[in-house]
């Protein structure tokens, strides 16, 4: 048997196996370390702080859980959210994340490690990313082998598409959900392969955990039935499938209904109907199989098939009827908008307004997945080559997830695991092919020149194809000889993917001649991987590690300058306002105000009440006179706006303003109209040419109040919109400026109480400024009557 490079001869198979398993363990440990370490940029560059918006609510809820115990948390009614409505937190939240942190917290305290709950929350996501790497390893191992598994684990450990949602401090549901997703899929594949009710049950339990943790569980709820359905349609029904699916579905559904937020949805909404339908279909098919195995008559079998089909059709019709009658809720807007992409913008602008619900442009894909994105199709093709049951799963997953990721940036997260798995399969197949030391025998006539000149290890005489087991029969003209079985005893060195399984011509030997090409390919692959690692490091450190509560910029000398306006303003609120002072802001900042300032808010990031949000939008987009009664009716004491015009912070409220207008317009189309906020030329302007509606809106006034004065007579420049603001800034009659942060990012206004003398605040203000009341301007309505 010729080899391209010398192999040690005196190794026992046991030694090789033991060494391989040790290397695997060490590699997994290192991968876990890398996964955790790369997520710590945020802590190192900034501090141990909760990031962004939603995590602040999760953190607040976890603190309640840790301080008061699980039952208090479960019954927690939060009167400060959605003032004056309040929020039943226990019933409107996926508690898995908080429960996980609570368990870890209590565990650590039980062994006398007094860790602060905040640090647990901050480090939960990196910790779970190590588990995700392990789950991906197990999953990929089922697809190909352990070496592909290690590659996949390494990929998912450092790929930016996953890091973006799991850096330290990003304490969100996705932090644990991706681990649960991959582990559920792994146990499902395992259950399917072995027909094991045990693994089916484990899949159901992790599915329950997933349901408790993330709304994205619906992805599993539909992926597994889809896989099962495709298997049935391809005629791959087996009792293994039946056992796996039934145990998963029955236990998983019952368990998921224990989560209060989910409740009876699994039997009442369309999102879950696919799972139920496939469950029913499986029972019918299993019954048919059973009957078929007991009877022989051809006609009766036909009758049986007809019966099964008609039962299936009847069942489908029953679903349609139930949906039509309203017993089964139709698709909710969030899911529906994935199919009809124009739907959300038209009917649920709140969903369309969220930046992570925008469609994905290709640079985002490349940024998040880099070279994996084009190994991914190659891996899918390799899955088609073998096409075992579990490969079908990956194929379906690939097609579905790439569509979803294209529709919403946020769903890149569900695409990332399958990309890692398939590209690991592809890359490991490449490495297998080119590292495998066995050289096929030269069968070409021109062997003497080319074969001899290339390498030192000229193919020997008795060599044979390494992998094609029956190489002899077909290639009669060639000199192929019998394949030496067990060409090498090392499992890692075998070509594991056997082309023989497919029907294509396989009888010829396969393998790589020579050493130079092997070295070149391995070298190339190493370079590509190194590039990938530097890309991931760069993306993670530069793009995904900012807490967004604390901003960073660089000083002229290159040192880091921290912009801490948000916390400055929130702590001002906490220390200078009464505890029951209601703060109004756009919903993005609701959780942060509740978490950091501890004040009641009108709306927050749990956008369940569109009308309430539209009320805030209306107040922000109407004039002071219109907004004031709204503010007073809602007991608003302070209004908080985000303004980036001074330092060029583009995520400010003026840039979000159009969404406020749109959402308000959805509820009050007669009073708020989006075109009124544009100039006649259709431009969105804040300078002198801004439309009157824009200039009079509360949001504009609050943002630019006294802004022009900063520039001391020179024209003021808005650095976000690159426009010059009017020299004479807006005036406020119903509000008082209460606080403006260092860089003007956060501005807080106090709502004036009614005038003690009963005047309207405008004339009271004019009086205070010593202006004469103009009596010469009666209301135009009266004149019309005359």
């Amino acid at each position: 048997m010729p080899t391209a490079y010398p192999l040690p001869k005196n190794l026992s198979p046991a030694t090789v196996a033991n060494t391989a398993s040790l290397i695997r363990i060490v590699a997994l440990a290192l991968i876990s370390g890398a996964a955790i370490a790369s997520r710590l940029f945020a802590v190192i560059n900034f501090e141990s702080i909760i990031h962004e918006f939603d995590p602040w609510f999760n953190y607040r809820a976890t603190r309640v859980l840790a301080a008061k115990g699980f039952y208090e948390f479960w019954n927690w009614f939060d009167p400060t959210a959605w003032y004056p409505l309040g929020r039943v937190v226990g019933g409107t939240v996926y508690p898995g994340l908080m429960a996980t942190s609570g368990v870890i917290y209590n565990l650590l305290h039980a062994i006398n490690l007094p860790v602060d709950i905040r640090n647990i929350c901050v480090l939960l996501a990196p910790g779970f990313s190590a588990l995700t790497a392990w789950a991906t390893y197990m999953f990929t191992k089922e697809m190909k082998d352990a070496s592909a598994g290690l590659l996949a684990a390494a990929f998912i450990g450092i790929v930016p598409g996953y890091i973006s949602r799991s850096v330290a401090g990003s304490y969100d549901n996705e932090a644990i959900a991706i681990f649960l997703l991959m582990f559920t899929f792994y146990t499902w594949i395992k259950a399917l392969k072995q027909g094991s009710a045990l693994f089916g049950t484990i899949a159901a339990v992790t599915y329950f955990y997933m349901v408790a943790a993330w709304g994205g569980y619906a992805f599993i709820t539909n992926m597994i039935p889809l896989h099962a359905l495709v298997l049935i349609l391809m005629g791959r029904f087996s009792s293994r499938l039946y056992v796996a699916y039934s145990s998963w579905y029955a236990i998983g559904t019952l368990a998921s209904m224990q989560v209060p937020f989910v409740g009876f949805q699994p039997v009442k909404t369309s999102e879950h109907m696919a799972a139920l339908g496939v469950f029913g279909l499986l029972q019918i098919v299993a019954f048919a199989q059973l009957v078929r195995s007991h009877i022989s008559s051809q006609q009766f079998q036909r009758l049986l098939v007809a019966g099964v089909v008609s039962i299936g059709v009847l069942g489908a019709l029953a679903f349609v009827l139930l949906t039509y009658k309203g017993w089964i809720a139709p698709w909710t807007g969030r899911f529906y908008s994935l199919w009809d992409t124009g739907y959300a913008k038209k009917y649920i602008p709140i969903i369309a307004s969220v930046s992570e619900h925008q469609p994905t442009a290709w640079p985002s894909f490349f940024m998040d997945l880099q070279f994996l994105i084009f190994l991914f199709p190659a891996g899918v093709i390799l899955c088609f080559r073998e096409l075992r049951d579990e490969h079908l799963f990956v194929i379906i997953y690939a097609a579905v997830a790439s569509y979803f990721a294209g529709v919403m940036v946020r769903l890149m997260l569900t695409l990332t695991p399958v990309v890692c798995v398939t590209s690991a399969v592809a890359l490991s197949t490449l490495l297998d092919t080119f590292i495998d030391p066995i050289e096929p025998e030269i069968t070409d006539d021109a062997q003497s020149e080319s074969g001899a000149s290339t390498t030192s290890s000229v193919p020997g005489t008795n060599g044979a194809a390494s992998t094609a087991p029956t190489a002899t029969s077909a290639a009669a003209s060639k000199k192929a000889k019998k394949a030496a079985p067990a060409a090498s005893s090392e499992p890692g060195l075998k070509l594991s993917d056997v082309f023989a399984s497919s029907t294509v011509k396989t009888s010829r030997p396969r393998g790589i001649y020579g050493l130079d090409t092997r070295v070149m390919i391995v070298f190339n692959t190493t370079l590509v991987l190194a590039f990938f690692v530097s890309h991931c490091t760069w993306v993670t450190s530069s793009a995904y590690s900012s807490p967004s509560v604390v901003l960073a910029s660089t000083n002229p000398d290159g040192s880091q300058h921290i912009i801490d306006d948000f916390r400055e303003a929130y702590y001002w609120l906490r220390q200078n306002t009464p505890e029951d002072a209601v703060v109004m802001s756009w919903w993005d900042y609701g959780y942060q105000i509740a978490g950091m300032a501890d004040r009641p808010t009108l709306v927050d990031n749990n956008t369940w009440n569109n009308t309430h949000i539209a009320t805030v939008g209306k107040a922000m987009s109407s004039s002071e006179e219109v907004a004031y009664p709204i503010l007073r009716k809602h007991d608003v004491s302070y209004i908080l706006v985000i303004f980036g015009g001074l330092i060029g912070y583009s995520g400010d409220d003026i840039n979000k303003f159009l969404w406020m207008v749109r959402i308000a317009q959805g509820v009050w189309p007669d009073e708020i109209q989006e075109p009124n906020y544009f100039t006649p030329q259709g431009e969105y302007k804040v300078d002198d040419s801004a439309s009157p509606a824009m200039k009079n809106s509360l949001m504009y006034k609050m943002s630019y109040y006294r802004f022009a004065e900063l520039f001391g007579g020179n024209p003021g420049q808005d650095r976000v919109r690159q426009q010059q603001v009017p020299k004479v800034g807006p005036t406020l009659d119903y509000l008082d400026e209460a606080f403006t942060s260092e860089n003007w990012i956060v501005r807080i206004y106090e709502v004036k109480k009614e005038d003690p003398l009963g005047r309207d605040l405008k004339s009271a203000n004019a009086f205070a400024h010593g202006k004469k009341r103009k009596r010469s301007k009666p209301a135009p309505r009266r004149r019309a009557i005359v």
Binding site: A361, M367, I395, G406, N524, E674
Partner: protein, 298 residues
């Protein structure tokens, strides 16, 4: 600019005195009848209709909506008028309204009488075309201003149904001839890979955002990281496909080569393709993301 039309819709309040045959309302009724529910305006009639003393309401609309309104019973119908104004017939009006583009839809509420809005706002309202130019949303939106909702229904798209039916039938017929193709795994593999490639190249972005195919002047790369043109989809999908193919060549085809020389040539060829195309991809990415610090050979 001839096709830029500006339909208008007018409401006459019931309190308006029926004076004479020259009464503007009667004129409008006649005109509306003549135009199948839509009045053809010029500068002069526009002045009459939008006079400050108007007791009727104007709303522009599309002929489809106007036609639907024509089916409403007479007592309601004669209170509203749809009207259009061509640029050629009413340049003054366009100047007066400061219009630079068309189509534009204005809703003129009644200034007097019981149909006047409760808010007292009589200034014309502009209809927002940001959701597209379909008739259905327009009718829905205008129904807020009419005494009864406009009975607009989408015309049944027979062509669509017929083509779907023919397509299904044709598929069923050809199914038995092409079933070996459908049952081949490689057909499905190609389909799946095509879906993945197109989707990961931002196809849905261009569809949802209605991106143009190119930017004009031969500029086909949209500026900005979160933006792209239609042509970028095909280019990027092609690059990804080429890279994946060269990779698959190395994995699936090259090992079956029986001649060492030919195999070596192929390996170097496909590796070269891989490296060059990958470098091109990275430099394309650098165009989109100016701050990207890495580059390969290009």
């Amino acid at each position: 600019m001839k096709f830029f039309s500006k339909p208008l819709f007018a409401l006459l309040s019931l309190t308006f005195c029926l004076a004479a045959a020259q009464d503007p309302r009667q004129q409008l009724v006649d005109l509306a009848k003549a135009g199948n529910g839509v009045i053809k305006l010029d500068s002069k009639t526009f002045e009459i209709l939008t006079s400050p003393k108007r007791t009727w309401e104007f709303e522009p609309s599309w002929n489809a909506v106007g036609g639907a309104w024509a089916t409403v019973s007479k007592e309601h119908r004669d209170n509203h008028f749809f009207a259009t104004l061509d640029f050629d017939d009413g340049q003054i009006v366009f100047q007066k309204l400061g219009l630079q583009s068309a189509p534009v839809v204005y809703v003129y509420p009644a200034a007097q009488g019981p149909r006047a809005p409760a808010s007292g706002k009589t200034s014309p309202l502009k209809y927002d075309f940001s959701h597209g130019f379909d008739a259905a949303p327009l009718a829905e939106s205008l129904s807020k201003h009419t005494p009864i909702p406009i009975p607009y229904r989408d015309p049944i798209d027979w062509a669509k149904y017929i083509s779907i039916a023919t397509g299904v039938l044709g598929l069923l017929v050809t199914l038995r001839f092409i079933s070996p193709i459908i049952q081949s795994r490689w057909t499905w593999a190609l389909g799946t890979v095509a879906i993945s490639l197109v989707m990961t190249s931002g196809y849905m972005f261009t569809r949802i955002r209605n991106s143009p195919f190119t930017g004009g002047n031969g500029n086909w790369v949209a500026a900005g990281f979160q933006n792209q043109f239609g042509q970028e989809v095909s280019v990027v999908a092609g690059i990804y496909g080429l890279l994946a193919m060269s990779f698959l060549m190395l994995v699936m085809v090259v090992p079956h080569q029986t001649s060492p020389a030919r195999q070596r040539a192929q390996i170097y060829l496909w590796s070269g393709v891989f490296v060059i195309v990958y470098s091109a991809l990275v430099s394309l990415f650098r165009v989109k993301n100016r701050g990207y610090p890495f580059k390969l050979f290009l």
